[in-house]
Structure formats: structure tokens, C-alpha cells
Symmetry: none
Subunit: 117 residues, 4 copies
DNA sequence: GTGGTCTAGACCACC
DNA sequence: GTGGTCTAGACCACA
């Protein structure tokens, strides 16, 4: 996996996992890769994945069963979906509209880009 | 001014200035606030504004007249506008569409939000 | 049974058993549940209960009759009682008093709580 | 500083700091030692203190001013006090009373210990 | 100077 | 096997 420089790696891994859950690839209550396995497959340090998992656990997206590993939270998909939709409508979209005006993009321009994507 | 935690303050100040220029509030060749004044009015450290001005100067958005202060570059508005439109269509918009799919937002949803804003 | 996160599960099970013995529910020389049964009824791993029993055996609280199972030690109740009273007066109580001062609880506050419990 | 084996060092440092705040030694909005300084004076690793500070920040006990350091939260003393009093009355005290009954300690025994401490 | 992050590697308790 | 913690040391962005 490639990582952007602008953001902490452990947060990029968290986003990667949230997308897996959002897309339904990792269903509720299912075990996710062990810290060591994920670290190895992403080519990052063990402690970096530890940080990701601690972060997601604190967000109640995943949880730990002692000695067994981490599992997808029972309401994780819905929780992530709602949090992200909330952020989308209240932060991303207003910022988008602000930029559109500033840069003279119309809704039609966006539509055209959407159809050609 | 309030600053987000996720981004460097000096870059948020740079955006703030670019928007002033884009909107035509600060026309070409006009003097912009001194480092000390801007730092005071934004409530940030002097060095932080120095960094912003160095950054914008290096981007050829502003320039320095020794002993007089910083001024808006002659082609600044157009330069900023083109760079931002470029970034908008090639980075912001694709990312927007990706999120829309992940979160089940349609183009109609965006239109509706646009009309109600 | 619910387990606290702050302490090892096998130790929490050991406390559970010691309380049974202290309260007289499990008298001396009486057989206690098999490892498998207890593990099943508590919803924990077999090895975890094995560890509890080994721990309690080493503390001379329970003992093993080969092929028959584990039994409550002959002097277990008195032994557990003395060890816990010792710990109570020399560790729990001093720590209690320290917290009381820090949090402005008086002995009267404790008495009041005791009467209303 | 001496650390117990039974608990993570970073949490023991967090308790140490909370007691400083509770006792009024570190007032609201006052800067606390830098990560490096505290690590050096406690004889622990830099990262261990980083963990403590992240933990306390997440608990809203301290907060960060970028480039300046960590500061005691504005309502920190009251917040810590309330959280600990809550824990005291609802966890420590009930557990105390349970143990008292199990070990045949009376309220008078506790009083006597308190007066002789 | 400040904190934030990452790597490398170790030891431990636990299941 | 699993995660949890700690050390050591490095580099970076930031004020």
C-alpha cells in the first residue's frame, strides 16, 4: 500500500479499514487481521498498526477479544456510515460549494465531470 | 480566526490570503498587511506569518519590496485561480465522486443540497 | 460472568472461587466444578480455568485428586480469610484513606453510605 | 519515581498528574512539563510520557497549544474531582463494603484504623 | 524549543 | 498464537 505524505500513516490505515467495513468487505463481528499480519502486509511497523487499532477501538469501530484478536464492531458499518455522511454533508459539501463559487464552477460543470468520469 | 487541527496553521493562513486575492479583495500590486499586523490580528506567532509569506512568495503569489512590505503579485489572481481550478478538477472532484459512491450520495442529492444552501 | 478489563481473567475467576469458599458455599474437601464445566459456565477458554486452578493449587486453596478432580483444601477457608484480612488492613484501607483525603470524604460520609447501602 | 508492576507506567504517570491537579498544585491553564522534561525527571522513555499526555488529552484533562506544550484544562480540577468521586462512591465503596462483610470487618473497625493512622 | 510520528526490537501476560 | 507496553533513537513540522 502507498501512503500519502500529508497524513499520518496510522490514520490512513484507519481509513483503509473503515472503507473495508463501509463496503461490507469486513462484516460485523468478523475477525480482522492480527496486528503483526497487517503490519507485514502493509509494510509498516508493528507499532503503527497498534496505533491504528487503538484509535479505531476508541472510536468503537472495532473491539478486542483478549488473546484472540480484533473484531469488527457490531454496529460498526452503520456507525462509520453515519459519521462519514454527517461529515460529508456538513463539512465536505459546504466547502465544495464555497470553492465552486470562488472558482466559478457551476453545478452543471460538476454534472458534466460526473458523467465523463 | 479559528484554525483546524488537521492542517498547519501557516498553510491555513496562506489559503485565507489566496481567497482574498481570488475574490478580488486584495488587488494586484496592493500592499498586504505587515507580518506583525497580520500575526496580531490572527492571534498567531510572528514566525508563523513569516512562514506563510515565504511560502506565498515562493509560489509567486506575493512579492517583497524591501523596506516597504509585501505586495500582491501582478498575475496573482489568475495564477491562483488556475492552480486551484486544476486542483479542483483533478483532486477534489475525483475524491468527491469516490466518497459519493461509498456513502450512497447521488448527483441529485448534491443538487438538492446546492439549492437549499 | 462479566470480566473487568483491568485484571487478568484467570485472577478474577480465582477471586470468584475464593469468595465461594469464604462465604462457606464451597466447604472444605468438597469437589469443585471440573475445568471444562467451569469454563463453559463462565464462557471462557479452557486454558484460562486451568490457569486459575493451578494458581489456587499453588496457593494451597484447592488440591487435586488424580482422576477425580479438584477439591477445596482442608484449611482453605481460614487461610483465604487470613490472607485477605491482611491485605485489607495493610493495602486496601491505607489506599482508601488516601483517596478519602484527596477527594474530601470524611469518615461520616462513609458511615452514611454504609447505612444507606 | 517508583512504579508498580501491576499497572502500565503511562497510566501511573497519568494518576500522578491527576493528583497534582486535584491537589491544586497545577492550576488551570498552567503549562505542565514538556514531554522530554517529564520523561527525564521520571526516568522513563519519551514515548511513555507521550502516551500519558495523549491519554489525558483525550480525557480532556490537559490540552495542547501547538509548538508551546501541554496545559492544564480549564475545568480539569473539577472534572477529575467529579470523575474520581463518582468512581469512589459507585465502585470503590461498594466493593469495600462487600469485602468488609466477607471478612467480618465492622464500621467500628474501620473507624479505629482511621484514628490510628 | 515544542509535540507528532515512525522504525526496530524487546519482553510480558494472556488465551 | 494474540495484543500491551516499553525502550531507544530518529526525523519532521511547527511556533
Amino acid at each position: 500500500m502507498e501512503f500519502a505524505e500529508s497524513k499520518a500513516i496510522y490514520l490512513q490505515i484507519a481509513e483503509f479499514i473503515e472503507e473495508k467495513i463501509l463496503a461490507g468487505d469486513w462484516p460485523a463481528d468478523e475477525r480482522i487481521p492480527s496486528v503483526r499480519d497487517l503490519a507485514a502486509s502493509l509494510g509498516v511497523n508493528y507499532n503503527t498498526v497498534v496505533r491504528t487499532y487503538e484509535f479505531l477501538q476508541q472510536q468503537e469501530v472495532i473491539f478486542n477479544r483478549r488473546g484472540l484478536g480484533y473484531f469488527v464492531g457490531l454496529e460498526a458499518q452503520e456507525r462509520v456510515r453515519q459519521r462519514q455522511r454527517e461529515e460529508f454533508t456538513h463539512k465536505i459539501i459546504p466547502e465544495l460549494f464555497r470553492k465552486m463559487e470562488l472558482l466559478s464552477f457551476s453545478l452543471e460543470d460538476i454534472s458534466a465531470l460526473y458523467k465523463n468520469k
